[in-house]
């Protein structure tokens, strides 16, 4: 183990760390250096498997994976810059490497400042970094090895895995969460998903079916309609990453998306119509603003549907 990389303490954590941790740099090709944060298993580091975790983007940092998903500590909210214990950390059952990749993401860098890259170069540099990891941690070389990640790691992982399979690494398998694994399929099902979860209405759905449904050859009108639907889904204030959760961050640079919702809604349910009928009514689609108790409203105005 590289003593110089050991994390002795973490600001915001009181007392000793839950298991040994290491942070430093792994070599990619040439002058590329990728930052890693390795957390040993809290149970049996000698025998538990090793997981390489990759977040997506492309260009998003795997430290998010550590600090708000599967790591042993989560950053607390409200800016107090402290950490709390994650009782369901994956480090309870595995040794986990969080790798910031490609260069230019997080603390990773390229000495020559060239950050142009692609899927294959990213996979190649991830492989080189992984091989460097096992040089630094030969004690982990015989452990079972898995790759896991989410989102655009749906590309990162299989492209890396086909390279890993040609090495001596004790590779066993891979897991992908909410993966970007096929652009066409995801794009098509996104509209279906939006319709079946009532994010778009009948009229727009019918327009979509008419415009995009019959021909296998994509038309300009279909592409435009898909763009509009996409804009509606991702910038309307509904959290596209968790439609039943809160919208915690910003969602749009302008009010345009909110306005476009009105265009997409069924005429009988449009805000303009409802407002005339029920003075004082404000759209529940006002992003992240909950200023109306819909249930109470429905009782007051039987038959009202948002």
């Amino acid at each position: 183990r590289p003593a110089e990389d050991e994390v002795k303490n973490l600001p915001g954590v009181a007392g000793p760390l839950s298991s040994k941790q290491y942070s430093g740099y792994l070599k990619g090709s040439g002058t590329i250096r990728l930052h890693y944060w390795f957390v040993e298993s809290q149970t049996d580091p000698k025998n538990d498997p090793v997981i390489l975790w990759l977040n997506g983007g492309p260009s998003c940092s795997s430290l998010e994976g550590y600090l708000s998903e599967l790591g042993p500590y989560w950053v607390n909210s409200y800016g107090n810059k402290t950490l709390s214990v994650n009782d369901d950390s994956w480090t309870k059952v595995a040794n986990v490497i969080f790798l910031e990749s490609p260069a230019g993401v997080g603390f990773s860098y390229n000495e020559n400042k060239n950050y142009t890259t692609d899927d294959d170069q990213t996979a190649e540099n991830n492989l080189l970094a992984l091989e460097d990891f096992f040089q630094k941690f030969p004690n982990m070389a015989s452990n079972e090895f898995f790759i896991a990640g989410e989102s655009y790691a749906g590309i990162y992982i299989p492209t890396l895995a086909v390279k890993v399979m040609k090495t001596q690494i004790n590779f066993k398998g891979f897991a992908i969460g909410n993966g970007f694994v096929d652009a066409k399929v995801l794009s098509e099902t996104k509209v279906e998903y939006a319709y079946y979860h009532a994010l778009i209405g009948e009229s727009l759905w019918k327009r979509y079916q008419t415009t995009c449904g019959s021909s296998s050859k994509p038309s300009t009108e279909c592409a435009q309609l898909k763009r509009e639907i996409n804009e509606l889904i991702e910038h309307s204030g509904i959290n596209p990453y968790d439609i039943t959760g809160d919208c915690n961050g910003s969602y749009s640079n302008s009010d345009l998306a909110s306005i476009s919702i009105l265009d997409f809604m069924d005429p009988e349910a449009s805000v303009g119509t409802v407002s005339k009928k029920f003075p004082g009514y404000r759209s529940p689609f006002l992003p992240c603003v909950n200023n109306i108790d819909i249930e109470e409203y429905s009782k007051k105005f039987p038959g009202y549907r948002s």
Binding site: K8, P11, G12, S23, P49, G57, P58, S59, C60, S61, L63, S68, E69, L70, Y78, K81, L83, D87, D88, P102, V105, F107, Y115, T116, T117, D118, D119, E150, I155, T159, A161, M165, K172, G173, F174, A175, I176, G177, N178, G179, V181, D182, A183, K184, L186, S187, E188, T189, K190, Y193, I233, H235, P240, Y241, D242, I243, G245, G249, S250, Y251
Partner: protein
């Protein structure tokens, strides 16, 4: 915004503290602020793969795979990944069934030869964040090659 509705302020504030950077052995010449994503890098990144089906077909004969989806995510929605797994054409090992976390239904799962597709109920894009308990159970079983 690069990630609509995702609040990353707390992580950024934490990681940009000098004492945290020191603890993580980040060299002083890295003066650039740590950010969750790098949109400028994303803008010059070249995507080479529209589909990963050929890669999966290379891998699956020898390696196990798990595709899981928080079912409340629309960006990489479960319908798409479910369809993707079906299109791989792996032999089906059993019917789609509910899986449980403690006593509650936590999603649905369908197993194929070498690959499992599962949903995580009412979870989002970041499954271990939204539903940490079910996520840990899921990955533990996968690592141990259990259903």
């Amino acid at each position: 915004p690069f990630l609509p509705c995702v609040n990353n302020v707390d992580i950024e504030e934490y990681l940009n503290q000098p004492d945290v950077k020191t603890a993580l052995h980040i060299p002083d010449f890295i003066t650039q602020k740590w950010t969750l994503c790098n949109p400028e890098l994303a803008a010059i990144y070249t995507n080479l793969y529209n589909t990963t089906i050929p890669l999966f077909q290379t891998l699956l004969p020898n390696y196990r795979a798990l595709l899981y989806n928080g079912d409340a995510d629309i960006v990489c929605n479960f319908l798409g990944d479910q369809k993707f797994v079906e299109e791989l054409g792996q032999p089906v090992l059993g019917n789609r069934r509910a899986w449980r976390y403690r006593t509650q239904v936590a999603g649905f799962v369908k197993e194929y030869k070498q690959i499992t597709f599962m949903t995580v109920k009412d979870s989002g894009h970041m499954v271990p964040q939204v539903t940490p308990g079910p996520a840990l159970q899921m990955i533990t079983n996968f690592l141990n090659n259990k259903p």
